[in-house]
Symmetry: C3
Subunit: 673 residues, 3 copies
Amino acid sequence: MNDRLLHGGDYNPDQWLDYPSILADDIRFMKDAKTNAFSVGIFAWAALEPTEGNFNFQWLDKIMDDIHGFGGKVLLATPSAARPAWLAQKYPEVLRTNNLRQKMLFGARHNHCFSSPVYREKVGIINRKLAERYKNHPALYMWHVSNEYNGECHCEYCRENFRKWLKDKYQTIDNLNHAYWSAFWSHTFNDFSQIDPPSPLGEFAVHNHNLDWKRFISYMTIDFYLNEVAPLKEITPDIPLLTNFMGELFTRGTYPSTGVIHSDFAREVDVVTWDAYPAWHNDYETTAFTASKLAYINDFYRSLKGKPFLILESTPSMVNWHPINRPKRPGMHLLSSLGCVAHGADGIMYFQWRKSRGSSEKFHGAVVDHDNSGSNRVYKDVKELGHVLESIKEIKDTSTPAKVALIYDVENFWALSDAQGFNNIDKQYHQTMHTHYRAFWTQNIPVDVITPDKDLTRYDLVVAPMLYMASKELITKLHSYVKNGGTLVATYMLGIVNENDLVYLGGLPSPLKEIFGINIGETDSLYPTQKNALIMSCGKEYEAFDHCAIFDVLPGTEVLATYGSDFYKGNPALTRNAFDKGQAYFIGPRTGEDFLVDFYSGLIKADLPINGDEEVSIQERRNEKNRYFFVMNYSEEEKEISLETAMEDIITRQEMTAGKHRIKPYGVFVLKH
Amino acid sequence: MNDRLLHGGDYNPDQWLDYPSILADDIRFMKDAKTNAFSVGIFAWAALEPTEGNFNFQWLDKIMDDIHGFGGKVLLATPSAARPAWLAQKYPEVLRTNNLRQKMLFGARHNHCFSSPVYREKVGIINRKLAERYKNHPALYMWHVSNEYNGECHCEYCRENFRKWLKDKYQTIDNLNHAYWSAFWSHTFNDFSQIDPPSPLGEFAVHNHNLDWKRFISYMTIDFYLNEVAPLKEITPDIPLLTNFMGELFTRGTYPSTGVIHSDFAREVDVVTWDAYPAWHNDYETTAFTASKLAYINDFYRSLKGKPFLILESTPSMVNWHPINRPKRPGMHLLSSLGCVAHGADGIMYFQWRKSRGSSEKFHGAVVDHDNSGSNRVYKDVKELGHVLESIKEIKDTSTPAKVALIYDVENFWALSDAQGFNNIDKQYHQTMHTHYRAFWTQNIPVDVITPDKDLTRYDLVVAPMLYMASKELITKLHSYVKNGGTLVATYMLGIVNENDLVYLGGLPSPLKEIFGINIGETDSLYPTQKNALIMSCGKEYEAFDHCAIFDVLPGTEVLATYGSDFYKGNPALTRNAFDKGQAYFIGPRTGEDFLVDFYSGLIKADLPINGDEEVSIQERRNEKNRYFFVMNYSEEEKEISLETAMEDIITRQEMTAGKHRIKPYGVFVLKH
Amino acid sequence: MNDRLLHGGDYNPDQWLDYPSILADDIRFMKDAKTNAFSVGIFAWAALEPTEGNFNFQWLDKIMDDIHGFGGKVLLATPSAARPAWLAQKYPEVLRTNNLRQKMLFGARHNHCFSSPVYREKVGIINRKLAERYKNHPALYMWHVSNEYNGECHCEYCRENFRKWLKDKYQTIDNLNHAYWSAFWSHTFNDFSQIDPPSPLGEFAVHNHNLDWKRFISYMTIDFYLNEVAPLKEITPDIPLLTNFMGELFTRGTYPSTGVIHSDFAREVDVVTWDAYPAWHNDYETTAFTASKLAYINDFYRSLKGKPFLILESTPSMVNWHPINRPKRPGMHLLSSLGCVAHGADGIMYFQWRKSRGSSEKFHGAVVDHDNSGSNRVYKDVKELGHVLESIKEIKDTSTPAKVALIYDVENFWALSDAQGFNNIDKQYHQTMHTHYRAFWTQNIPVDVITPDKDLTRYDLVVAPMLYMASKELITKLHSYVKNGGTLVATYMLGIVNENDLVYLGGLPSPLKEIFGINIGETDSLYPTQKNALIMSCGKEYEAFDHCAIFDVLPGTEVLATYGSDFYKGNPALTRNAFDKGQAYFIGPRTGEDFLVDFYSGLIKADLPINGDEEVSIQERRNEKNRYFFVMNYSEEEKEISLETAMEDIITRQEMTAGKHRIKPYGVFVLKH
């Protein structure tokens, strides 16, 4: 199994226990469709423990055996993501309290209190039972711990835990008062007992308080996870742990889940995974644009542990929760799945194996449809992918050769979103990150999207857009990176607040002044229809919009472009400063992709033996022996590519000669070099 | 009285008890304006029972006598729609609890708990008093039971009643679990006591649970009504019962009230009535379009009992609660009122007789304005209508000769609206229904808009757009209808779920497969700017949008049109299947009115001795002796009509010769044939 | 000090007590920037009384001394606008209850219960301490009482106070029932105990009930203020009292704060002040339009006491709470500040002196930025203004020679906004007021914007747009004003309801009929794309929209214009009636600024020895000796002005000759005549 790319998905046989022929069909289809791995039991608590303390594993035994029977593997789930009705009824404390202090009722999922001692105890018991029963089962491959952790609770337990967390962090109330700048509006606290979570009913505008609450929620989420996995680690120490993160890319947004600090959570799992649901074929962006959004989040999750990850959920057709849900056009399932593999995925899994018959997700695309047929279009697309994944299995464990790092920081996002000032409608952090990312993606330059805790020394170029909140530690790291020869790019909204959301006094922090050779004054925030321009020394002009930092250069700093209008016309808009062995660029205004493509192409080039037309994406994975090039046509038209040397397409196992080739709409090659 | 069309409205003398000259003026104006029927006492509980157990009927005695004095009749109201302050203060249980479990405060109206034993008791007492006091009063004509029943309550009584209702329905918790597909998300219930109404604080995404709650609310509403009318039925068994339903047609929506199952409620009343408030003269549709919306709902309410109904509320000028409230232009009051009569109304009543002096509805158009004048434009329009209604009184009790039935099902609407998938912004069930309706209306073909419980055998053509939820019973009825010679038309979203919102497994249910000769696979949901086309065999092309069912034809099925683009280009888009003595058409995509007009005109023709220009609507009522044609110009321009034979206009009692005639803007003739 | 215009702002040293060098810098900058007055201690309760009953004034002593040291003055604040955490924790009653009856939590500001006996007591104690300690301090100049009073509370204390207030007002429950027209919807009250404040959970649609609640809130706010100031009046009877009102002009709205009845509150303060935050340089209106919005509110606050007022808060750069926050362009700070002085401000103060380091307002523009620099653009702008204010100090205490009054009534606004009918989206009272205002502003005609309690006899022209709610008292005053020679202008929506929001029966009240010589019938409310026209006798045509009053003229009334279309085409649209010594004009439809400029220019002319291009505003202040003309170019282009005689610019102390001069973009002269 370890030499295969995973293919399979969430399997919920507990919905079909009354339909034995369906269960038999499932196993038959699984073999037929070239699948090999299944997440089982994600929402099965009520089936496993129908009443308190009475466990029923027989149905699961059979499923495990049946999957094992055809050589499949199980990512066995812990069922904490949804509790049984009896548990909520007997122990209401397991239900959350919302930020209006209303006690929630039973229903939905992903809504348990992370603090509740009873819930932690009950989760511990069922997880221990599962681990003990299946620890030696040959199908047990990984633990799928809970599901899409998210949300927050305002119950007394959580409020008390928040206060404890604050006390651990700040030690004294005076430290907290300073960090919260609480003298403002007379909010000076005498005691930690006076502090509540942010709420529309009380405090909601103290930035660092809001930030701490988000950090605490991340901490409590991970703490709950650690409680969950304790029996698993004890009983099955060799079985890898994973949980599934999320991503937002079905509207104009493009970002990983924002409810946890990923770098903290990633340290506690063995494999990073996420649930990928792009909105293909929409009417607000090109297919290639959608693809670059997906690539961006893939690169983020791959960079979290710097190794391959899994797509733990996806759909072979359409989801049921986008505003509008279109099926994937012919070819898109293969293309989009291999697109994920191209960016580091070692497996493509689905939610879910079989469409539910009732309830809210009954129209969410699945492998087996309500027609229970192995001959419809979607099923055949899945089967085709199964074959292809087997063909290209040598890709497994190969790496991505990125020399560019883009720094993404969810804490910076939180702080920036909460900041009152400049543009209060939307600071557009995610969109800006993605625009910078696209400037590389459209040039086929591989990128790591990294959190601030990562080592920078391996990169030739580091880009940190809108680095509004920068800790002293990160500032020191950036300074050292440039000093030692790195190239750093930053933009407006740079280095404004520290990790407590307190403004750095005296202007841009000195290490940043030093490496960028600038000092930043005012920031102009433009209304939507207002534009400025960034004019390069050569005269070329680009649109500047939304935000324009107005800044001075220090002696020695090179002005590469100036502003085109307004009272800061002629002021520097783009600068370069050589600092020791490295250099640092500062981009004053928000710009479009056109400028960024031109700008970054002057700093770094793709290193590829293949060229392709626009909207053909080429992404490399490699190991010590080979380079593999995923060549993907994300357009509705046939395109041309040219190969410098002959290479083998490992999907078809056919050689492609050097020179020009056509690639069909939504076509994909995986070329070995 | 039984030979007259009703004309009058809500009369609230209890607002004017301190103004005796006003009360005298009222009676004088009533006679002058040719009115004959008044709904009295709708919100008069506080005037009838000023403190608990102390009744005061003297003012009402006088009103009854005064109305009787000029030959008028009273639709005596039960006052349950708004309770007195003392009742709410002493028995807070009569107030509702909202879906966030907040206890409501005293205020507004239509907001009593339908379960509350105290409220039921108090309503019973006052209704008994009214019935006893007026049972022999010669003015007593009908009972106007309460007012515009709507809304829901989440108090403990209601929650307990919901559980009882569920237990009656499902018998065992296992049956409920299967019907709710509760294994999904681990929601398996051990006991009915674990079930709460849907709430944003708890469960809100289990479709059948949501559906059951709506059905329960309908049940409780009717149950409350039955409690209300018990003393009336006992004491005045010969006085007809009615309550007023509502309609939504002041924005782009077009539908009857959606809070009750009309077919259930209609069985319990003697006369169907509704409150009609179209937004004439708006800036988003033509006058004719507004008229067709009004006609659609009229046809629905007429079809409920298959006999004439009443407009129980309307306005002679404007309402006060539309976003923008325009007065009716000269001629519109007569035209729109006769438009209702044309579609089966045997009476036109107003809310309200006299404009209130204060509070929230003081600017709602009424017959008598704040100027207390009998000479303003609105008053004169009412008086004119009074004369006309007397002229055309032979219309009373005539019927509508519809051979086309359009199936409207509020339960299907609930299920479809709640369904997650396809297009989650708006499934557009009502708009789609209305587009089909218009295709007949613009051709002057009479239509019954029927609920699924109705007999189909009397129709030549049955149309069931978006029949997403179809019970086995309905499927059987449709099958039998076609088998026996009927013509049936259905569209995308056909027969997907059963009455428990569980998907039919194995594709389209067999009886539907058989009659339509197709099997449906995927459904493509398009973004707003995306279009496909439906191309007829002859080459004529129509726009297809929003939803496109992709389907296969079985042997023998005729393909009348195909799709114009996308991966299902060339696939069937419109089919006809001859089945036994009948035939069934399936329309795959959503289309505009243009296609539907062409399509239906091939299936059925108007049978009229009159032709008119576009925007002239011709609607027939008939009895055994005569045919009556309402000819109505719903445009701002003079139009032409032509008569095959001479006919009498019973408004003017003048003969119109065969041949061409002009009809002025907003003009109307009622021609006897 | 009394011969200087105030310049300074909110100073919050309590945020910087741990940063002594910052505090020293502050004093240095204050002197340097030519400031002279500071509001101190606005949110300093926690610093002054860190725990209950323990006071710490030492830091404040030093600040008072230091400010005095350079000749500055202190507007000492009472700190009630934000309570310390200990106070909220120990006495939760001081926190508000919202209109859903939820108890608020500690946080934010301006959110104390105005009824709470404990809060009133605690505020009394700290205010007394402040007064006693600083009563003889030479820097004490005024009392800055609390801050931006606003909001409401629904706790039991407030509900009980509401009932008491109602009982005082109505004496008997029958009077209240009549005034609330409570027979409607059976809301007749038996007792005052049955009345609650309006709430989404209960009653919210009884207009006069809503109105009374707003009036009560205004009453309670002022009552709380009176409790606050009692110890100040007792201990420092000679120190003037002020509090800061607010204005709304950052979006398309243009109005003073609407939470209090200004005419009531103004009687209790010695100086009127307000916080002015226009959104300069936006993308939805011209600079001149923004300027006219600011001017309008300035004229309102000046007219409240008929004497100069203070801008108590403003920003030298940008705020942090507009949707988009742009810095003031070069020149705008001087121009906009002198624009306020031109309309009667005798001081320009800022929020705040120094930008906070943390929390929600850390990016609100201040005099001293985070760079702690005296050399950045914003600081220099402030310093420049400081110099100019010293140059023009002879302006202090001069008056504004307005002969036109525009009646603004917040109670009318409340009633009109709440009225259901006509156009329910937005009645546009404020926008309409401002359009009338602009017709004068663009012609440089000074205007008083007055509340209905003011004396009218001093004006040549009184304009009362949309005077929907008119008390008998006001009607009598208007009648007498015209009778005695005044010119009165009114519009559609005239005199419809009395002060209890009850409609006047019998049409337009007789005194209004008499002076206008008309009777008003229907009002047509147009949809946004629908237009009518007002056609002058000369044939000139103007657009009419939104609302068109349809009215008859009485004998003798002159019809100056008629409607251009619809069924009331040819009906009067604009009339003039000579009544006794005066005359009254009635404008039937809503019109644009174009009509109003032409119309008012026929009634009154500016009396100025200066002419200027469009977008150059000329505003006069005068005293017995001199006339001063503020000439302000509110455009981005150089403009021309011409002087009839030579005058001195008292900013530069240079003479400007008679004849033509250029004025630069955002330029300003203050010319003495």
